[in-house]
């Protein structure tokens, strides 16, 4: 019984940081870092202001934690994707993007890119951390698909590095639109992803007829 209650308490304590991070993520995304009050973060997490400081030593530290924690699922997903890297590269690209959307499109994690866009200027080290851990790795995955596609004659010749950016841009914007210019953002993500994939795959693919 005592063990039980201790565990309960311990479980609660262990959950606190995550709860606070989740609350903070939501508010940072919605309002921006500077405009978010720690009072509100604490309230949203259902604790008092002081409790926040039991787990994070400053607002900046909380920000950092939000990003670091937010990155985990992305990295994990990336690792998973790596394993199936074989076969038809067009299909692979499609798979990659769809997974990306599943991960980011309907979960709180999706707010991370918006935060990084808005706040990277004020948090250079965090931006670097994000760049090294998320952007670089994501680009690595995409690079593989594109290069193999070109080599296999599936894709047209291209400037791979630049094309990576061009291809990522629409899915990033889709995410960003979720949280910005909200009224106009009433987009249908399914249709968007469909149009997007149709467009870029068509744009990348070697035209069969060309060979004729």
């Amino acid at each position: 019984m005592k063990t039980n209650s201790i565990q309960k308490s311990r479980r609660r304590k262990e959950a606190r940081p995550s709860e606070l991070i989740a609350a903070a993520l939501e508010l940072f995304v919605e309002r921006g870092f500077a405009a978010t009050k720690l009072d509100d973060v604490a309230a949203k997490a259902g604790v008092s202001k002081g409790t926040l400081y039991l787990y994070f030593e400053s607002k900046d530290a909380l920000f950092k934690a939000v990003i670091e924690q937010g990155i985990f699922p992305i990295l994990a997903e990336g690792a998973t994707l790596l394993q199936q890297f074989e076969g038809n590269n067009a299909a692979l690209l499609k798979e990659f993007m769809q997974r990306w959307w599943q991960l980011m499109g309907n979960t709180p994690v999706g707010g991370i890119p918006k935060i990084m866009i808005s706040e990277s200027g004020n948090f250079p080290e965090v931006a670097n951390y994000y760049y090294d851990n998320v952007i670089v790795r994501g680009r690595d995955l995409l690079r593989q698909v594109l290069e193999r596609g070109v080599t296999a004659g599936e894709f047209r010749d291209m400037d791979v590095e630049t094309t990576i950016d061009v291809i990522m841009a629409p899915v990033l914007m889709l995410i960003v639109w979720r949280y910005s210019v909200a009224p106009c953002g009433t987009k249908d993500p399914e249709k968007y992803m469909k149009s997007y994939l149709d467009l870029i795959l068509n744009g990348l693919m070697m035209k069969k007829e060309t060979r004729l």
Copy 2:
């Protein structure tokens, strides 16, 4: 001589609001609205903080002015583009995008989209204003090109509304990257635009051979 200096002073006086807006734009882009101090805006514009209040009744009003002023060139450019709306639609689309980049890519105006992304949640009316005046109009132009291209058999069939968004996304991201996640932002815009246009035009175009 006195006349001269008066004119100079008057000119300067009349320029004040613009100077302040320019300074504010730069800082809002760099740091975000909430993190920007009016002290710094005034200092950057070379006036005292009190002077700022002679021209803008609050920080919010300054924000609004920054957006409104920032929109003028965009609207003007849009009007110009409208006039040449005939001929080859692929070329027109290319022209449209290149003009867009010229307008946004190397001028302070380019910061506006980043600001709107970051702050629209905190300024719903401004966001609506921006939506009604910039986004809607921009989409109108693009819609015309795309629809005429489809009708003319130049472009493949498509969901036009969604495709507008997909097509705009990469150029928006290019702009946003200029001000965010700085390290990764070391992109070559020329190459980027080239790859981008190549990809989407190829993606949009009816395959000539298909007709065979």
Copy 3:
């Protein structure tokens, strides 16, 4: 064995208040009352912050206890000194001061005067308590020595009440210096006490020649 551990625990339990007081004394002396955190006091005493409140109902109460506890040895020493109050008064004065230094000079108790100097303004009742129990009694002892010395023709005539203060000042400062302006405090207490006793005894004593 159980008995043993219970005794141990009991002994420890009974020692708790003293340990807490000792820890508090050290920190109050070092940092001052307001700047001392109860967290640190508890940590230094090896208990949790909550435990502190089992023994003291508030930070103020702890302060009071520190002073009261700190006064015991001083009072005890005073009582002892009273018993040998006879014989050569110069020697007695010397003895008095040397004992005082033994008591205060190398023990934690020595911090009490510094605390009283720093905090008496914020704790008037404690200051009164200290005054009534320590200062008044100490002065009583000194008064006896001085008055008897004057009566016996050993000491010159003097304003006894004032001289008490003048005589006490150097030993008090010696103690205070131990904890203040630390760098300059590299004084040799032995030499200091020697010079001090030499000076004041010489200053108090009737000049032999006067008799001539």
Copy 4:
């Protein structure tokens, strides 16, 4: 007229720091640094809390300024004393101490030693600054008097360095008592100084008979 009002304003602005420092000195002496609220300092200086930050960037900076400003009169007085350093050394010592009392005994500056005693542990750099600029210089002056007195055969032989401390202690304590253990502080400074000077001069002086 404009010139006049500008000067008035300027004069006011220039006076602010001193007014704030004076208010802070008083409260720091009375309550200690940590227990003094900036609100109260500002109120006592007749300004708002925010104004304080126009002149001092933090509470610590204010503390430093209080000490630095408080030291000026002491240093100035020291410089003046240096000039009359000739003649009878006993008289010189008397003069030195009386001047010291005039300077510290009835002015706010007198609080400085108490502050240094209480807070030096928390402000090591300030303590060093104080040591280098006040204590060292004061000791230098006293050393001269004592050494010359010994050389001239006026004073008995002594350990000069230690005696400096012993001699300074009573006047320091007199000052400290002004602000501490208030009830016991009801001392008559005139009588105290008289007894003090009588005692130490008698204690220092060569006994006339010795010459016999």
